[in-house]
């Protein structure tokens, strides 16, 4: 039995009903494409988060007086906060395995650069200590860190050069005006404080959203601009090494209990992985259902084809075709629909993933804080083994879907078939 000849007969049958075959292929394409796209987007997001975390030094902890903590174990309860002041800073600095503590203020500030206005989160901290967060951080040529200059301001790359804009927001040496709005505690009225700064440094792109969107002034400038009165919003605690991070975390928790929020890159990663695995299962199930629907489409198409071609099947049996010949004729149709649909599905899934992920929007950073502003899109990641697995699954499902109609066709009585 020449398999190639049976294949040609199947192809002929598909060509005869082009529209129906095309629609069935589209069903398989949609299922396979959805699976590829969702897998790619999910993998891209995981990779993005990993890269974000990889740029951060592994020995740091982000401590704030906020209400959420990433201790791991899913504990995200809201609790009363403490005031982080110099006493707390010194107390934590004195703990074993702690090499440095860098306190800071943070507030939403309106920045006006030559008439261009944005609102951004500004961090007031010792600018020399930004290397604690990312030791590989670099500044663009011409930049300088001036820790004692009350007018110095450093911008992250995404703020200085907003994605999608042809002109930069700020350049080195430019003067900008920062305005902080707040409600006076005594009068209850809306107040404003403004101050001019000179851009002394721009951070080269780090790949970390939090750093790329950072705007940094020194601690004293922040204290006066934000009127914080020495009450810090956050601290960066550097352990002696990554191995001591859990110990330091325990020590701080022992001291302050749940009154303080602690975030570590490892805890974020663990929380992310828990969310991702749950999310991935959901995504896989949704995509599998789409593939299954495509398979049902094949059953319907071939079942109809068998019913329409009963007389033909009878004739072919009469001239000597075996059950296997007829079975293969229809199975090959299912196989071709699966092959074409799956292959096009992989390609369209990859294109679709890029299209979906290019729809940008505000994305929160990692490690505390939450500056607003448009992000560069997160590129999907395609793992070759995953693509092959999805392609094979889609093709196999298609063939399985074709089994019943093919079996039905092969079992037809030639006499009854010829009577149709």
């Amino acid at each position: 039995m020449k398999i190639s000849e049976i294949f040609k007969l199947s192809l002929e049958a598909m060509r005869e009903r082009k529209a129906r075959s095309a629609l069935t292929i589209i069903m398989v394409l949609a299922g396979c494409g959805l699976m590829i796209a969702l897998n790619g987007i999910s993998a891209g997001q995981s990779e993005f988060i990993k890269k974000q975390l990889n740029t951060l030094a592994p020995n740091i902890l982000f401590v704030n007086n906020g209400q959420r903590s990433f201790r791991g174990g899913g504990d995200t309860s809201q609790t009363p906060s403490i005031v982080i002041n110099s006493i707390v800073v010194d107390r934590i600095k004195s703990l074993p395995y702690v090499s440095d503590v860098v306190p800071g203020y943070q507030a939403q500030v309106t920045l006006n650069a030559a008439g261009n206005v944005i609102t951004s989160s500004v961090i007031a901290t010792d600018p020399q200590k930004i290397y604690l967060v990312d030791p590989s951080l670099e500044l663009i040529p011409g930049s300088s860190i001036q820790p004692n200059n009350p007018s110095a301001i450093i911008f992250g790359d995404s703020v200085a050069n907003p994605p999608g804009k042809s002109t930069p927001f700020v350049t080195l040496g430019q003067t900008i005006r920062a305005t902080y709005n707040y409600v006076d505690q005594d009068s209850g009225k809306q107040q404003q404080i403004s101050k001019s700064f000179v851009v002394t440094g721009i951070i080269a792109p780090t790949g970390n959203n939090q750093l790329d969107r950072a705007v940094i002034i020194n601690t004293a400038s922040g204290d006066s601009l934000f009127n914080k009165g020495g009450k810090f919003d956050q601290m960066i605690v550097a352990a002696n090494s990554a191995d001591y991070v859990p110990a330091v975390q325990n020590e701080i928790t022992t001291l302050y209990g749940t009154n303080i929020g602690i975030t570590t890159p490892k805890a974020i990663l663990e929380a992310r992985e828990r969310f991702t695995s749950g999310n991935n299962s959901f995504i896989q199930n949704v995509a599998f259902i789409a593939l299954f629907v495509g398979a049902i489409g094949i059953v319907t198409t071939l079942y109809n084809a068998v019913n329409e071609r009963i007389a033909e099947i009878g004739t072919i049996k009469a001239i000597g075709a075996t059950r296997l010949f007829i079975l293969l004729m229809f199975l090959f149709e299912a196989l071709m629909i699966g092959l074409i649909g799956s292959t096009l599905g992989v390609m369209s899934g990859m294109v679709g993933a890029y299209a979906l992920s290019s729809i940008g929007g505000p994305r929160p950073g990692i490690g505390g804080g939450g500056a607003m502003g448009f992000q560069r899109p997160i590129a999907p990641e395609f793992i070759p083994n995953d693509i092959i697995d999805v392609w094979i699954l889609s093709v196999v499902l298609s063939v399985i879907a074709g089994l019943y109609p093919a079996w039905k066709a092969s079992g037809l009585s030639p006499v009854l078939a010829l009577k149709r």
Partner: protein, 233 residues
């Protein structure tokens, strides 16, 4: 005796076929027995519902009898496995149907080649045979056309070519002129006559048409599932 046996192409031995339907039990054939010698052109004639087509289907192993045996070239065909029966149909028997039963989406040539494709004939050989047959049947110029663009007579010629491509010893024709006008029907009948006379094929020809039946070597008259009489022409 052995000479007689070697002359026998087909032996039908006490065939009975019973159908169980909602209307009750129907005995389509009862105790049918006859023998066909090599090269004979035999017609089976009878009114509608007499069992002619049922008999032809059993001879062609498209259907199994309720009881009885059919021997083709001395082989009890219903003792074979399904796959062997299919192979026997493919190689030893050629079918011609009243409605032609061609595959409309395929070309004329492809239709003719189909039994040869099933029998795994080499591509070049089957193309050569197909074109030769089409030429001898006067439709070679239609080889690349779809069968639906042919007239009834032309389609039946294509069906005859298909029936002959594997060089079968027996051709079973179930009312092949039924859907054709008289002239065309006569032409098709003449082709079958040539098959028998010139090429020594057995042709079993089911028909209502008494005029055509009289031109065959022998007529087997069937009525109500039994052989009424046999007439040598």
């Amino acid at each position: 005796m052995s000479d007689n046996k070697s002359q026998i192409a087909l032996e039908v031995n006490d065939i009975t076929k019973v159908f169980a339907t909602k209307a009750g039990i129907i005995e389509a054939l009862r105790g049918i027995s006859f023998v066909i010698n090599r090269g004979e052109f035999v017609s089976i004639v009878g009114p509608s519902g007499s069992g002619k087509s049922t008999l032809l289907n059993i001879i062609g192993a498209l259907d199994r009898p309720t009881s009885g045996k059919v021997y083709i070239d001395g082989i009890d065909i219903f003792s074979l496995r399904d796959g062997d029966i299919a192979a026997m149909r493919n190689k030893l028997i050629g079918f011609i149907f009243q409605s032609f039963n061609l595959i409309n989406r395929s070309t004329v040539q492809k239709n003719v080649e189909l039994p040869a494709i099933i029998s795994d004939m080499r591509k070049q050989e089957r193309k050569r045979r197909a074109l030769l047959l089409l030429e001898s049947l006067g439709v070679a110029d239609k080889a690349r056309l779809k069968t639906s663009s042919l007239s009834g007579g032309q389609q039946q010629r294509v069906a005859i070519a298909r029936a002959l491509i594997n060089n079968p010893t027996m051709v079973l024709a179930d009312e092949p002129t039924g859907n054709l006008d008289t002239k065309t029907g006569n032409e098709v009948f003449d082709l079958l006559r040539i098959l028998s006379n010139k090429f020594r094929r057995n042709v079993i020809f089911v028909t209502h048409n008494q005029e055509l039946a009289k031109k065959t070597d022998r007529i087997i008259y069937i009525k109500d599932g039994v052989i009424e009489r046999e007439v040598l022409n």
